[in-house]
Amino acid sequence: MSNKILELNNVSKIYGELKALADINLSVNAGDWLSIMGPSGSGKTTMINIIGCMDTPSTGSVILDGVDISKEDSSSLTRIRRDKIGLIFQQFHLISYLTAVENVMVAQYYHSMPDESEAMEALEKVGLKDRARHLPAQLSGGEQQRVCIARALINSPKILLGDEPTGNLDEENEGIVVDLFRRLHSEGVTIIIVTHDPEVGDVAQRKIILEHGKIIDDIDQSATFGEALKLRSK
């Protein structure tokens, strides 16, 4: 029985004369850790927007958890995104006037029902329980990104989707966040991350390279997966 969580079939995205994605075929199994790399303008963000139900392909189909999301309307995409996707952004995008725990609860509120104790558990999972009552401005970049990860995880999404999640972090905080991904992966969370950083790309189980909207390389890093992580930890 297939455990595919995501399948892109001949997906293209065309803006006028620009083909941001060209006939992309990709499948991701549940529990995989995939990194998407490539130079600027290669189509990484377009791909993550489509996978994250924030955009639709011009052609082709996207099967997410058994549902073809390529033909869904905006309202359905919102519902699917809310139920199946956890988003992490390069710039964290925390609501500045809400505390860390409240930022996590916002995602709960729009999903189902806010529950402070659950939100606190999510923060504890990312090591920020004692910083729960702090405003984003009172947290370091790494801490803000961990709040962002807690928020992405709070509704138990099928896929954790990161757009340059370490792009705004120093080396130390980058290490903390990567360790967190490792732990989440070991717990069975499917992770898809767009990154420029080769070190972050290398620690994933699988890496695809995009160029001019096409996958030019699809590298299985399972063999070096553990080693890379150990090196990364050191």
Binding site: N49, R82, L87, F89, Y97
Partner: protein
Amino acid sequence: MFLRMIIKTLVRQKSKMLMIAFTVILGVSLSTAMMNVMLGVGDKVNRELKVYGANITVRHKDAALMSDLYGLTEGLGVNDKFLHEEDVLKLKSIFWGFNIIDFAPVLEGHAVFKNSNVDLIGTWPEKNAILATGEELHTGLKSLRTWWDIQGEWLNDSDSDKDSVMIGSALASQNNIHVGDSITLTNNGLTKTFRVKAVFNDGGNYDEKILMHLSDVQELMHLPGKVSHIEVSALTTPDNDLARKAAQDPRSLSPEEYETWYCTAYVSAICHQIQEVIRDGVAKPVRQVAESEGTILNKTTLLMILITILSSIGSALAISNLITASVIERSQELGLLKALGAYNWQIALLVLSEVMLTGLAGGVIGYFVGIGFAQIIGQTVFGSYIEIARMVILIVAVILFLVTLAGSIPAIRYLMALKPTEVLHGK
């Protein structure tokens, strides 16, 4: 969570929200003031216009007919038709009796003075009485001729004042009569001497007449208990189509229309009710006065409505700019909420709730400020307080809701079209 987000947004954006509240305060206060003045101005303007005299005249039906058919205001068929003095106080017993502010019976007569004929006006200069309802009445011609320039003193209701007269300024000047002089009047073999209590200047044909107590003219003319006509000053509602239709023939109205007309203070309804209590009387509006009142009232009301509409549009535009600026400033935050799974309507509800709460606070303050404005207008323009109409609260609430909603439309359209991908990937 929803409430927490709203409260924290309001606190965080307090300067913008204060600007919105201030805009609402301005708009609502102006609307409240204008509407209270508009609803209270009818009686105020009416009372102001009462200084220009009666707006209804009651005559004997035959005299009125002669006037209507042949334009006759004197002569046989006019001067020999009288109403009864005892009916005059019945004016206050009609359905709209409370709206009858002042009235005075008039008996026109003549007498010989210094070998010449002079016109006499017999009236109630002042009348104080207690009606059957227990209501105290204070009326008379003095209240209907407030513009008269008087040398001396007005005639009054006291017995000691009988045998006193007031003389028109032209007549007094021609005959070199002064306050305190005595004059002798003769008619039909009856001669009486009167003391001149005042010389008045009417600016019209009354200046050549002698104003006397009604009883004195009745005695000189040998017409006890008779009056030629009654001048009535009533607070009326401006005519509309129904009133105009009724004025032509009340029998043409349906029962529902008749009830509406009868229970509204149209001048035609008041005239109709006066005819029900004055024997042989026909009440007719003094069109110039009645129509002027209606015109002034309608124009004043229109002006107030225009000011209310303009202030509402101004508020909506200002609110629109402020909210749109606020939403653009928060586009990342609102885009994030969409990315986290918020539907468009949920975000619209969040923004609208913030604005409505701010608007509500501004509206409450604006309402009370508006009441203050209304009182200032009342004191400055009419010299009295404006009665606060409770229905204004409801109207202002509806206007506030619509203005805030209309002002929010551009911002709501903006956030509906907002794509999370456009605001969240800024690098």
